[in-house]
């Protein structure tokens, strides 16, 4: 827990309340344990997310080293299987989810002009539940056979298809760690999401009607709704699995007439909306950053909102496109292929709208904008490969191949992680009061982007050449050697990029120049208060009359509210 204070200690408000001296370790820990402040919690979410990111990123590096050459003996099969399971699970539940919740926590009250979240204590509870669920998951590594043999870490893949998770095929407690930790984390996510919904709907400042909510907040509203609808199916199937493993129930026990496919349905009813839960926050950040650095309002605000809501709805009805190969009827396959293709429409509209926003603007290539531009390009590729995967016949070839691996890494890294970086650089001055260093950030951007493409682009091709995912080794001569080698080389670019990033976070905090209230000349409410904001956010609760309240103030002769 102490590690994360590295990123957090600067956040502590002045000591009026509790003993110990400012800045001392005891006091920081004390602050973190006791705090219900949405900003502190938001930073704690982001910091612990980044911590887990580094750990599971290193796991990915080991995976790639093992796959660099055919028949490599760097890792044992069991170790490899545990690595990819933990990498996937951690990246989704311990990195993606907490970081987006961190952004939501930190920014939503500021953007809607509120003093805190609606339920501050529930907020703290949500964070700690998530954090402990992460510790519980990683605790599995400290199980019986020690670290090298990887303890009893789960090894069933992040979607843990039954009956591989049944007692008969997964002895010991490895799968239990996975399922219990996810169940626990789910409780925290639902608590936080209810909090987001209530905050957004009930704590808006005067004049902040729904039609003036920043798009960021709109998209998080959709995300929160998706979480409260999609997370319970996950919890339900974890409960069923626990009953199976502990009480001898037969939900997924194929020997007793249970169905293996049922798990897949339940899991993906959660799993596919989860993809949108993770990517909509990426859209949210892009929808804030791109207008500011293009110096124009977002193009087609109502359409953007409608598209987000549409994506939310459609995403609840497409889950079985992960299951085209399980032998559904042709009607089932056709239905899910169609519903999946429909998602492409609102997503496409969004990409066009972002380009429309830039059209006619004056683009400033600051760090957040650079990451957003890369995001647009990469998300375009991710979306198009997604269309290919939606064509059920094509998916019969592509599913569970490296093409899929490439596709979802383009979504989750190229889409989500890049916008997370954009968001971190964009709001860094607000949260910490210092500007991030541009040169270091540029190195981070270049190395990480190049490394990302070198790593993941070749995986499309090895997928085309028939390489299945989750294999710990492969024979030479099947056409995969070169692509895997290139892929592994790319990882090291990414690692160096991340080193620049981490160094930049620390360096800029110590040496960076003061940011001031509004370093980017932006328009949403969070820039109206100090950097970092005081614990109460605003001295007086603001009042807004348009989507860009700060524009109105900066251009009183040409305010937005006359035209909206």
């Amino acid at each position: 827990m102490n590690h994360e204070t590295l990123d957090d200690n600067f956040q502590i408000p002045p000591p009026e309340r509790i003993g110990a001296e400012r800045g001392s370790l005891t006091r920081i820990v004390q602050e973190m344990v006791f705090t219900v402040d949405h900003k502190t919690l938001g930073l704690m979410y982001i910091a612990s997310g980044l911590l887990f990111f580094v750990v599971s990123g290193l796991m990915a590096v080991m995976i790639r080293i093992q796959l660099a050459v055919p028949r490599n003996h760097f890792l044992d099969p069991d170790v490899f299987n545990r690595l990819f399971t933990m990498h996937g699970t951690a990246m989704v539940f311990l990195v993606g989810m907490p970081i987006i919740f961190g952004f939501a926590n930190y920014l939503i009250p500021l953007m809607i002009g509120a003093r805190d979240m609606a339920f501050p204590r529930l907020n703290a509870f949500g964070f700690w539940v998530f954090f402990f669920s992460g510790l519980l998951l990683y605790f599995s590594y400290l199980g019986a056979p020690g670290l090298y043999a990887a303890g009893s870490a789960p090894d069933v893949g992040w979607f843990a298809y039954s009956p591989l998770t049944a007692k008969a095929f997964s002895r010991g407690h490895s799968t239990d760690y996975w399922t219990l930790s996810l169940l626990l984390g789910g409780i925290g996510s639902i608590a936080t999401s209810i909090n987001i919904i209530v905050t957004t709907l009930c704590l808006r400042c005067k004049g902040m009607i729904l039609g003036r909510l920043p798009l960021f907040v709109w998209m998080f509203l959709v995300v929160a709704f998706l979480v409260i609808i999609a997370m319970p199916p996950l919890s339900a199937c974890q409960i069923m699995l626990i009953l199976d493993r502990y009480c001898g129930a037969h939900f997924f026990d194929t020997q007793a007439g249970g169905s293996a496919v049922l798990w897949q349905h339940f899991f993906w009813i959660f799993g596919h909306p989860e993809v949108y839960i993770l990517i909509l926050p990426g859209f949210a950040v892009a929808s804030e950053v791109i207008p500011v650095f293009s110096r124009k309002p977002i193009f087609g605000y109502p359409v953007m909102v409608a598209a987000s809501v549409m994506i939310g709805f459609i995403s609840l009805g497409v889950w079985a496109h992960h299951m085209f190969t399980v032998g559904m009827t042709s009607i089932g396959n056709t239905f899910f292929a169609i519903s999946t293709l429909l998602v492409a429409i609102p997503t496409g509209i969004k990409i066009f709208n972002w380009i429309g926003t830039m059209y006619g603007g004056k683009l400033r290539f600051e760090l957040p904008m650079l990451f957003c531009l890369a995001f647009l390009f990469q998300f375009l590729i991710a979306g198009l490969t997604g269309v290919m995967l939606a064509i059920a016949p094509f998916d019969w070839q592509l599913s569970d191949s490296y093409f899929v691996v490439a596709h979802f890494h383009y979504v989750l890294i190229g889409g989500l992680l890049f916008t997370i970086f954009a968001g971190l650089y964009y709001w860094y001055p607000k949260a910490l009061g210092k500007m991030p260093d541009f040169k270091l950030g540029l190195w981070h951007f270049i190395l990480f982007t190049v490394g990302f493409h070198i790593t993941f682009f070749p995986q499309h091709i090895s997928g085309f050449l028939g390489m299945p995912r989750r294999i710990y080794t492969y024979d030479a001569g099947r056409g995969w050697d070169l692509w895997n080698l290139i892929s592994t080389i790319g990882v090291f670019f990414q690692v160096i990029g991340i080193l620049f990033f981490v160094f930049n976070l620390i360096y800029s905090y110590v040496k960076g120049k003061k940011a001031g209230d509004d370093p980017w000349d932006a328009w949403s409410l969070e820039w109206a208060t100090t950097s970092p904001p005081p614990s109460y956010n605003f001295e007086t609760i603001p009042e807004v009359r348009s989507r860009r309240p700060l524009w109105d103030l900066k251009h009183p002769d040409d305010p937005d509210w006359k035209y909206e």
Binding site: A68, R71, H73, F74, D76, P77, D78, N81, Y161, P163, L164, A168, F169, Q255, G257, G258, S259, A260, V261, R295, K296, F299, G300, T325, S330, N333, T334, A337, L341, I345, G348, I349, N353, I355, G356, M358, G360, K362, F365, M388, I391, A392, P393, W396, Q397, D400, I461, F464, L465, G466, M467, P468, Y472, D475, A476, G479, L485, H555, D560, E564
Partner: protein, 391 residues
């Protein structure tokens, strides 16, 4: 593989294996791995350039007609079977469409980024016109994606139906494929043949009369596996407590490589599958050979091995037709030596690898369900000799 796999045939197979598998058996650890990285780079630059071109355009004549018709590169853009071809044509459509979209949007993006970049400090003195949007333009870029989506929906629906609802003709070969951790059990119910990890099917001709597809009934004995031979057909899962069905109709002979494509536990990576497509006559010969009874071994060593085989617990898991070995947990060994590989593709089947496998399968395939039997050296030798007679 044409011809009966006798001793000479085995040697030939071994050579063929080595031909494409030259650097596949490393003894070393990570450091020899690093050496191999350098080795790979130098050796494959030429091949790489070629493959880049092939993969990028995905339109070249079928690969690997040489090397005993081994087809290790399972390129889904070189389909050699009917369902794979159907998938291929719909995938070419979607590739063309997505490529078009990619070019248009990327061009637009680059143009916008270039045209509207901040050109100098004078740009900081003014803000660009504040445009809210245009319903007109929004409509345009909503209608066009809908139009494209609609076309894709039509094509997808048709292709799904064409592939899934294909009726099998009378003469179709029928195979029951059962997935195990981590090997494939292959049944020919009509012929009464049982084998493992390698499927023999006849060639089909496009002329109607010569059409002879193969129907596969897919089941699983334990967890979910997935049948995938990219050049022949897309995936279909093998799911316990459920019967799935797929079919192939290959138009070229050769040995096609496939993998289990659904993560199924420790040795998922070494659950390889081969489909051997032969001329109809060769296929019939193979069927006859598989049906022939296994001779009782005459040579002394083999006879000893025969005894040792039945004295040890081998028979609990393995089956040899016409004997007391009736286990069903492991692969059927009746015609063991007709196969190309051992351990579901982990190594070529040669006297040496067989010997190593009998001594301790865990060295070849860590974590596989056959335990180290801790046999005496003499037993290992004799059992190997016995197994070599099973053809």
């Amino acid at each position: 593989m044409p011809g009966p796999p006798d001793r000479a045939g085995l040697i030939q197979q071994k050579k063929a294996w080595q031909f494409w598998n030259r650097s596949c058996r490393p003894e070393g650890d990570m450091f020899s791995g690093l050496n191999r990285i350098i080795f790979c780079v130098s050796r494959r630059i030429a091949g790489a350039v070629l493959w880049l071109v092939l993969a990028a355009f995905a339109c070249s004549p079928a690969y690997a007609q040489d090397g005993g018709q081994m087809r290790p590169v399972a390129d889904m853009f070189q389909p050699l079977s009917r369902p794979a071809e159907m998938i291929h044509s719909s995938s070419m459509l979607v590739l063309a469409i997505t490529a078009g979209i990619f070019v248009v949007v990327t061009t637009l993006l680059v143009y916008v980024v270039w045209k509207f970049r901040r050109k100098g400090p004078e740009d900081d003195l003014k803000e660009p016109p504040q445009i809210y949007g245009s319903t007109h333009i929004e409509l345009a870029w909503t209608v066009v994606p809908i139009l494209i989506t609609f076309v894709l929906i039509l094509v997808t629906s048709r292709t799904i139906g064409e592939i899934q609802n294909r009726k099998m003709p009378e003469n179709a070969v029928q195979i029951r494929l059962v997935g195990h951790q981590w090997w494939w059990e292959v049944h020919y119910p009509k012929e009464g043949i049982v084998t493992a990890n390698e499927i023999h099917v006849p060639l089909s001709r496009r002329d109607g009369a010569g059409e002879r597809p193969t129907e596969l009934i897919l089941e699983s004995a334990d967890v979910i596996h997935s049948f995938w031979v990219p050049q022949l057909a897309g995936k279909t899962d093998l799911i316990p407590n459920r019967k799935n069905r797929t079919w192939i109709e290959p138009f070229a002979t050769g040995t096609f490589f496939g993998n289990c494509a659904e993560y199924c536990g420790t040795q998922h990576a070494n659950m390889l599958l081969r489909v051997i497509v032969e001329e109809p006559e060769a296929y019939e010969r193979w069927v006859q050979k598989m049906k022939a009874p296994v001779p009782v071994p005459q040579a002394e060593l083999a006879a000893q091995g025969h005894k040792a085989f039945y004295a040890n617990s081998c028979v609990n898991c393995h089956k040899v037709d016409g004997t007391n070995a009736r286990g069903v947990f492991g692969p059927d060994l009746t015609k063991l030596m007709t196969r190309q590989t051992i351990g579901a593709g982990v190594a070529p089947l040669t006297p040496e690898t067989l010997h190593a496998w009998v001594r301790n399968p865990q060295t070849l395939k860590t974590g596989c369900l056959m335990p180290d039997m801790k046999l005496l050296d003499s037993e290992v030798d004799s059992i190997t000799a016995y197994l070599l007679t099973l053809k």
